[in-house]
Amino acid sequence: MTDTSPHSQNSPLLEVRNLSTSFRTERGVVHAVDDVSFVLERGQTLGVVGESGSGKTVLSRSVMGLLPDRNVIREGQVLYEGTNVIGYNEKQMSHVWGAEMAMIFQDPMTSLNPVMKIGKQITESLRHHLGVDKEEAKATATALLRQVGIPEPERRLNEYPHQLSGGMRQRVTIAIALACGPKILFADEPTTALDVTVQAQILDLLDDLQRDRHMAMILVSHDLGVVASRTDEIMVMYGGKVVEQAATSDLFRSMKMPYTEALLRSIPRIEHPSHTRLEAIPGRPPNLLSPPKGCNFAPRCRYVQEKCLNEEPPLESASGHAWRCWYPVGSEGNREALARNTAAGVPVGVPAPGAMSSAGSN
């Protein structure tokens, strides 16, 4: 970046403060990302987990400034090495993209230009950002392709994307993203379009590259399995809000948010016997045009109480673990809530009648 602030060495690599992103649509304003804050240190990996519509993709695009200006409202701060990059215009951002932050997308076919040779697609950013000459750019591109595990890199430089398999294409997009040595890599569902054996290869590759380059990574995925072993910290998103945030081992050891718990329970597990009945989450994610009044997840929650339908829970935190729930899993209030709902025989998402005497205690 050109105008690095003087205290950049002491600030975290990336700090996002109260970032909100909304879209103006014909049917109203959609709050796709609502008041999200996090810190990403050098070399760390943050996992962002959520279903479609949870805002995880908009979050990463918003941080990178990849959203159009028209009908998009971005509020809050995105501090990259201490400098707020919100409000940067496209020209200013072009110094950040590729050189400081880079992104790989879910579908490697659509993120590559089908009518441009692979070599050209890699050297483009090298020539733009680092101003290297043609020969040097080509040599770097060859080295990059070798590094991401593409056999015969010299030959591949002259090929087009359609001549490669899905896994190989994703390796090419990774090579492009890494070309200028970014400090942060946004990986938005990098393996969702790939087969499971290829997924393992790509995740291992990202691991190795990250370690070699001491690069920070934001790994966006809907798959708890993918993030579990690959991240230092996890942020769970639901309906545009962060509903739980904790160190990865902490999150899996003691989940606080009923949504996270329900999500993990609804996944078919390979170690369970065949025909195990799945604990499905009833209903569907909230409509962000008219979100529910109280907790977003309340209409699908088995612990729901009257309070949840009326008051929105704040993001509470204790020793680095944050959650957004009045009756967090594992608390006394949560056990009481479930007991009340079970005793009343109400379906999931409907609170037991009668007000609960005490507010949820942690």
Binding site: D223, I267, S274, H275, I281, P282
Partner: protein
């Protein structure tokens, strides 16, 4: 013949569907080359059974499902639905038998006509076959929608775009059940859905199977999903079957190196899970235009020997309801779960 043989087939008289030695080849232009999409696959389904067909993209699992439906008909081989060999039927005979076999696809939204109302979409099979009066048809539509968890009152006159992916898949399921099929072929029915919705649909399919006495072929790439729904699992690689068996046994002790690799590749949703000495699978799936000689998995198999290049392994029994096509099947290599 890697993954060939019929040792895993059961008594022909007991099965609802029995496909023997199916081959599907697609010519490439006028080059004289062929894509060997499915090469000598045999499968059978007992009434009320769910067979899970699992494999990566390019393994030929969808082509196999379509070959059973005769769309298109396999290049060679036979597909017996009860007593009828579907590959030998004429167009009109096949049409008569088609209501007994229905299919659900991966993308529920694109498999519904966006311009039509839900009630018309779901009632269409009845209208085509002129089953019942329109009042009876409407009643059956309502009943079926209700059973798949869609409120008929609210849904009837709405169009697919007003529903979420999960709801559209429910509508697709309702439509496929209208003619009371015997066989339901589900091609990746949950892979386009969110995890929280996926479980709803899997549970629904299980309920519908019991309620309508369905026999299902469940095609998917997700091993955990396949294990959950299946009574029997078949693993495919590059147009051949590798391993067939009872899901619990097959997952606990895979006998084919490919099955083991697949199982080891799944990241468990648990940060403390032991990583083990899993080395991953090197290379890529070879081209189906010129598949490897002998065993088709040998180019990527850690245990491949000379024999594997020369002789194609045949399905052999390695345990109770557990068959593998491998010269050197793994023994007692329980996967760490």
């Amino acid at each position: 013949m890697a993954g060939s043989g019929t040792a895993h087939l059961r008594d022909a008289s007991a099965s609802l569907l029995r496909a023997e030695n199916i081959v599907v080849e697609f010519p490439i232009g006028s080059t004289g080359l062929k894509v060997h999409a499915v090469s000598d696959v045999s499968l059978d389904l007992l009434p009320g059974e769910t067979l899970g067909l699992v494999g990566e993209s390019g393994s030929g699992k969808s082509t196999t499902g379509r070959a059973l439906m005769q769309m298109p008909s396999p290049t060679s081989g036979s597909v017996l639905l009860e007593k009828h060999d579907l590959t030998k039927l004429s167009g009109s005979e096949l049409r008569e038998i088609r209501p007994q076999m229905q299919m659900i696809f991966q993308d529920p939204i694109s498999s519904l006509n966006p311009r039509r109302k839900v009630t018309d979409i779901v009632a269409e099979p009845l209208r085509i076959w002129k089953r019942g009066t329109s009042a009876e048809q409407a009643a059956l539509v309502d009943k079926t929608l209700e059973s798949v968890g869609i409120d008929p009152e609210g849904a009837r006159s709405r169009r697919p775009s007003e529903f979420s992916g999960g709801q559209c898949q429910r509508i697709c399921i309702a439509r496929s059940l209208m003619l009371e099929p015997k066989l339901l072929i589900c091609d990746e029915p949950v892979s386009a859905l969110d995890v929280s919705v996926q479980a709803q649909i899997l549970n629904l399919l299980q309920d519908m199977k019991e309620r309508y006495g369905l026999t299902m072929l469940f095609i998917a790439h997700d091993l955990a999903v396949v294990k959950n729904v299946s009574d029997r699992v078949a693993v495919m690689y590059l147009g051949k079957l590798c391993e067939v068996g009872n899901p619990d046994r097959l997952y606990a002790s895979p006998a084919h190196p490919y099955t083991k690799t697949l199982l080891d590749s799944i990241p468990p949703p648990d940060p403390d899970a032991p990583k083990g000495d899993f080395a991953g699978l090197s290379g890529e799936i070879p081209s189906p235009v010129a598949p490897p000689s002998g065993c088709r998995f040998r180019t990527r198999c850690p245990n491949a020997k000379e024999l594997c290049a020369q002789v194609e392994p045949v399905m052999t029994e390695v345990g109770e309801d557990h068959f593998v096509a491998c010269h050197f099947p793994l023994e007692g290599t329980a996967v760490s779960l």
